[in-house]
Symmetry: C2
Subunit: 347 residues, 2 copies
């Protein structure tokens, strides 16, 4: 393995979109979403361990999740855990982690990855990451992995590439499109110019630090120190702050069976189904006249359900959600309403 290759796994999210199955105290990345006995974080860690030295794999997370990470990964060295005292989205997190790694190895090339995605084709994934690391180690470019879209998903961000601006197999980004309307998503998948933005990034540590110094100079002094001041950083994502503004962003076109599992619909699509197209995760069920539902209840519990089609039924601890599984906006609103009405009690 190349000792200049590093990985940063981001494991600080609170998993709101999967409420109430995913809870603030134990969000999505720490759950065994498919009943395989392995959490999404463990899957992610094991995946990168194939291609990157375990000494070079770092995990960023919020201080509240420190013990969960260490419990889930008993062989993980605590010194490679980068703790955030305050939640401030991905830009401050990545800025600090990059500074942290630059001190370890000024020649680091880094893949930055969410901890809660599903990757089905591991071999293709491994090859893609190594190819990206190799390219980024030789070019001052910010690489984002683009996934060939397989359906007109409106919950993902898309990247449009410039087909005639290409270096090796990497295409310059023309524009980023946040969660498009259905009509646009349908046009995008007809074209060869549009790719899903996977949220997996690859770059040389100098390239990303340069980008921060050029585009977000104000946060650099707050995070480029031994006691970073997350509280004073803006709550902003790496996509909005850096990727959409930098002019050296390139896309690596990938196809390794990816899902960000970012919506119930995405989880539904990624999961095995019964004869009536119900997805039943970890749950004992007895279903009658039920089609196209997704059902997640705590292990050992039983759900008896009659006459539902296209619903999501999810329960955990003190909360139960029954709603139309493809109405993402309503689900988001419900989670907000629950917080407004009941405070943190059900978060």
């Amino acid at each position: 393995m190349n000792n200049n290759y590093y990985c940063i796994i981001m494991a600080g999210g609170i998993g709101r979109r999967f409420w109430p199955y995913s809870r603030k105290a134990l969000p999505k990345q720490f759950l065994d979403f498919f009943g395989t006995g392995v959490t999404l974080l463990q899957q992610t860690y094991d995946r990168y361990k194939q291609i990157i030295s375990p000494d070079n794999i770092y995990i960023t997370t919020h201080k509240d999740y420190k013990n969960i990470v260490l419990e889930l990964l008993p062989h993980f060295n605590e010194e490679q855990l980068i703790i955030e005292e305050e939640r401030r989205n991905t830009a401050p997190s990545i800025a600090y982690a990059s500074y942290f790694l630059k001190k370890k190895n000024p020649n680091a090339t880094i893949v930055v990855a969410p901890s809660d995605h599903l990757i089905l084709k591991t071999d293709d994934f491994n090859k893609a990451i190594l190819k990206g690391l190799d390219f980024a180690s030789r070019h001052d470019k910010l690489i984002t992995l683009g996934i060939k879209p397989s359906r007109p998903e409106t919950g993902y961000g898309y990247i449009q590439i410039e087909e005639d601006k290409k270096e090796e197999d990497f295409y310059k980004v023309k524009t980023f499109i946040e969660k498009p309307a259905k009509e646009f998503a349908e046009i995008f998948i007809q074209s060869d110019e549009f790719y899903w933005n996977s949220g997996i990034f690859i770059w040389h540590v100098d390239s990303i630090l340069n980008a921060f110094h050029t585009i977000m100079a104000d946060i650099c002094p707050r995070v480029e120190c031994d006691s970073p001041d997350f509280a004073s950083c803006p709550n902003i994502s790496i996509d909005y702050s850096i990727m959409e503004k930098a002019d050296n962003v390139y896309v690596q076109l990938c196809n390794f069976g990816w899902s960000d599992l970012g919506t119930w619909d995405a989880l539904y699509d990624a999961s095995p189904k019964d004869i009536n197209q119900n997805v039943i995760i970890n749950s004992n069920t007895l279903l009658s006249e039920c089609k196209n539902n997704i059902i997640l209840i705590p292990e050992g519990q039983l759900a008896v359900i009659q006459g539902l089609e296209g619903y999501l039924i999810a329960a955990r601890d003190n909360a139960l959600l029954i709603c139309k599984k493809n109405d993402q906006n309503a689900i988001r609103k419900f989670v907000n309403d629950v917080e407004m009405k009941f405070g943190e009690k059900y978060s």
Copy 2:
């Protein structure tokens, strides 16, 4: 209070029809069904205490429920608890309790009552029970309380009276009709001859013992002793075995805001509703596009529900039921299927 008046409260049912809210370990009569802080058994006991001396109120139940009854009714004298070693429906239970009371007072007139009904008009109820006790103390007749039907309920049994065979205000029974089809129920409520069979009975102890000796002579030696042998008794209700066969059965016409709470529909009808006709019992909820549902989840829990109409959503411990609230047959089948598939785990 008349010292010859007695009450037997039957509290041995397992509450299958309200699964999973009512569970074998804690069935319906022991639940606070309306969130008032008082269980149905406590309500029943308190109701009879108004008109019958507490020394004369007896409770029959299965041995498994002995401690629950004594906990719920701390002032209740354990010697008035009649324990059944085996579940054998109402006929053996009433036969033994009648023998038991005959020894206490050979001149007892007894009201036999389920422990899990709802009575809204207590004054009218008190008057009716006392009127029935008075009549039964003077006539060798088996009285059943008939309720003027208010809707074409198909979940109840009906009694047809003989309008021209009347003693005082009590009508001779012409026939019993078990859970009729909708078309018949609709005809019944147009007529003045049909009444709901409340399952509340009044009789002199000699009248009911005579009936057992005449109609069910075989069970008498099994229960007319100090250690009754319930195991060898048939599993049969008082309605089938005695009331439908005896020729001295009379109906007292009543109207005291009664519901047997025997079906989810009955519970729905008896419960206060929100602006969208949802019945929400004991539960924190956040509803969207929901109409005509009944929702019972454990206290302190939250249900967020979208887009359901006419559904029952009930949860307790390890089980969740979501089904059409007026499909009684399906609900009964689900409960059976759960037992077939999972044994006692969710019963």
